[in-house]
Symmetry: C2
Subunit: 408 residues, 2 copies
């Protein structure tokens, strides 16, 4: 888990017109040698949308974002890595507000147009002196950074930098979407909160951008789990600078809305899967598809029951075609299901149906599938048309080591 992210290849990521990036090191964690503060300046008029953790114990940064999303406009983003500032009371709230106000001053905009996120240990107030020095230094560096630098600077225990780019045609205008993300899942709030930031040069009305992001989130970030532990600080923000000059997308009736929505959904799915691939201790990506459930929501809950089952995840870690554990996870989900209608596949192979293992079941192709680093599990409930797809990773000794020994 000590692989330097710098040692790994970074995908080709497009810059976005209207987005300027600067990073700096203020030293939230003395041992960290790479930059830990990121400032992003957004063109005037940039629309913003966001989805935030539903935790009842959110960080002050999450609360500030929630309030400011109502305005729909963004000029700046600041991200701190190494301290989540969560559960830090009045001191943490004051530090977050001070940092936001400082960036608003530097950018000449109201604080209501500044968005903020912090990731790292819970319970230690953001040190206000470092927060202000860091935002000043990163602001001074605006224009010198790129998405690669930002992806490194927002990371914590991530083992590789995670970003993706896509594009869409809006009428005659080609628009670009780039996203960066950090985190090893919704899993480790004191060190690996999921933060995702999406940028596009498309012109999009903020309310419509929110609708599109909410829809895309339901099929991407809401469909991944590393260990079922939802962070106090999870944040995904989408910024649309409008620099591409397309006729603004105001709703589904706008020409190009479908194409943009598809591109945004694809980008979110790519970013979400990157997080699971980098799940703490993960050696395998697991895609779980549930069909035939009573409805889509029921399918999602069954899929998450499988994805969060430690027994399923440890079996996959061991390359063990233990389909009985999938039966168990379907059975315990609390959703409509009938034992004798359930069927289960590993990869392309049907292993169980009609309440029993299939006649003449040959485990060899399943074992071969499980030996790879991408595993597909499918469960058909046999009751209705509900379907869902979620992603998780295996549960290994690496996860235990990272989380039991973190502070030692």
């Amino acid at each position: 888990m000590t692989v330097s992210p710098l040692a790994l290849p970074f995908p080709a990521i497009s810059p976005i017109a209207g987005v300027r990036i600067g990073t700096a090191r203020t030293g939230y964690k003395p041992a960290r040698t790479i930059d830990d503060v990121t400032v992003i300046e957004l063109a005037e008029g940039t629309a913003v949308a966001g989805v935030l953790t539903r935790s009842r114990c959110p960080s002050p940064e999450v609360e500030l974002c929630a309030a400011r999303l109502l305005g729909g406009r963004a000029r700046g983003l600041v991200v701190n890595a190494g301290n989540s500032n969560a559960f830090t009371g009045a001191a943490g709230r004051a530090a977050a507000e001070a940092q936001g106000e400082r960036l608003a001053e530097r950018l000449g905009c109201p604080a209501a147009e500044i968005f903020q996120a912090s990731t790292g240990v819970i319970g230690v107030p953001l040190p206000v002196d470092k927060a202000l020095a860091g935002v000043d230094a990163a602001h001074a560096a605006l224009g010198s950074g790129d998405f690669h630098a930002a992806t490194l600077a927002i990371g914590t225990t991530d083992t590789f930098p995670k970003a993706a780019t896509t594009a869409a045609m809006i009428g005659e205008t080609r628009v670009t979407l780039t996203g960066i993300i950090k985190g090893s899942g919704m899993i480790a709030p004191d060190m690996a909160t999921m933060l995702g930031f999406i940028f596009t040069d498309a012109a999009v009305d903020p309310l419509f951008l929110q609708e599109l992001l909410t829809r895309a989130n339901q099929r991407s970030f809401s469909c991944i789990t590393v260990d079922g532990d939802t962070s106090t600080s999870d944040t995904v923000l989408a910024f649309a600078t409008g620099a591409a000059g397309n006729p603004p997308l105001a709703g589904w009736h706008s020409p190009g809305a479908d194409a943009f929505a598809a591109a945004l959904a694809d980008l979110c799915r790519q970013l979400a899967v990157l997080v699971v691939r980098d799940g703490e201790g993960a050696t395998k990506l697991i895609e779980i598809t549930v069909t035939g459930a009573a409805d889509d929501a029921s399918a999602h809950r069954i899929a998450m029951s499988i994805a969060n089952s430690p027994l399923v995840k440890t079996a996959i870690a061991g390359g063990d075609a233990n389909w009985g554990r999938v039966v168990m996870a379907v059975g315990k989900a609390g959703e409509p299901a009938e034992r004798d209608l359930l069927s289960i596949r590993f990869g392309e192979t049907l292993v169980a149906a009609s309440g029993a293992v299939v006649p003449g079941y040959d485990e060899a192709p399943v074992a071969a599938h499980l030996a790879g680093d991408e595993v597909a599990i499918a469960a058909d409930i046999g009751l209705g048309d509900g379907r869902a797809r979620v992603w998780t990773c295996d549960l290994t000794h690496g996860y235990i080591s990272i989380n039991a020994d973190y502070r030692s």
Copy 2:
């Protein structure tokens, strides 16, 4: 995890009048050298009550028990260890029925008074020849066994035999309650289903026994979790032989009902905690108390959110006073909670309150508490009077090794 259960001390367990025990080895698993079939004969007129897994994919034994509990009377119990017979279709159902009918013949009672449970790998039909030979042999041995022998014969990956005894006065009559249990939690359906059997010489009306067992279950077996994975076969049955000769308990108005209910509840709690102590890979017992929740059900869900959090459990495994993870688990539970009203204790030490760590927090006493093998975590939600107490264990490399490498 290879400690022989025989090497460990067995608690002093009282026999129960009206209960005869026989065990035998039929060889469901060739490598298993100890007995794997248990037959228990119950005096005529024995009342029975039960709580069964809520899995939508239950084993045929669970289905048979559910149907037969309606009759309220039991003459015999047969338990197979090494094969759960779950998800085995018509073949497994037929084998379970044949084994039950064989025991009914031997005992000279209707099959409707035979109770059955099986634990072991999922998906392999109970081999009917071994099931019949085993029940015959164990029946032939009736009277030669005791609760110690039965506890060993029903075990699978258990590292020690688990049993408890208590007593109560019903008027002038002293009644005894003894329970045996197996399983490393509701955790590993292909090898460690939880099966619990409680015997008493008290005379109790079956409907009232069911009411008492249901109540006791809510504060005991329903309050433990090793990994949140509910088995296809979990079964707890209570048998009241009536051999003590007390005036039968027919309801709360019966003299001694309160004392018997308290004794049964205490026995269930003891048995439940034994299961968690033997959780797969466990090194520490964790007691989680939630107070101040909106209501008791809400408190239970918050407590289970903490108890099932891999991050909380790995932190305890590492002796890490990582209270931020408790904040996370409260926040994600989806129950009413307010960050700034929440307070958290480890052992006797208040660590966090009013939305932040307590002033002058000293981690030394908390670290000392976490170094022990029993850990207490308390969360006060600060909203209402709801309270709950649950038990879990830490999550260690041992759990991963057991479950990733099980079939290798």
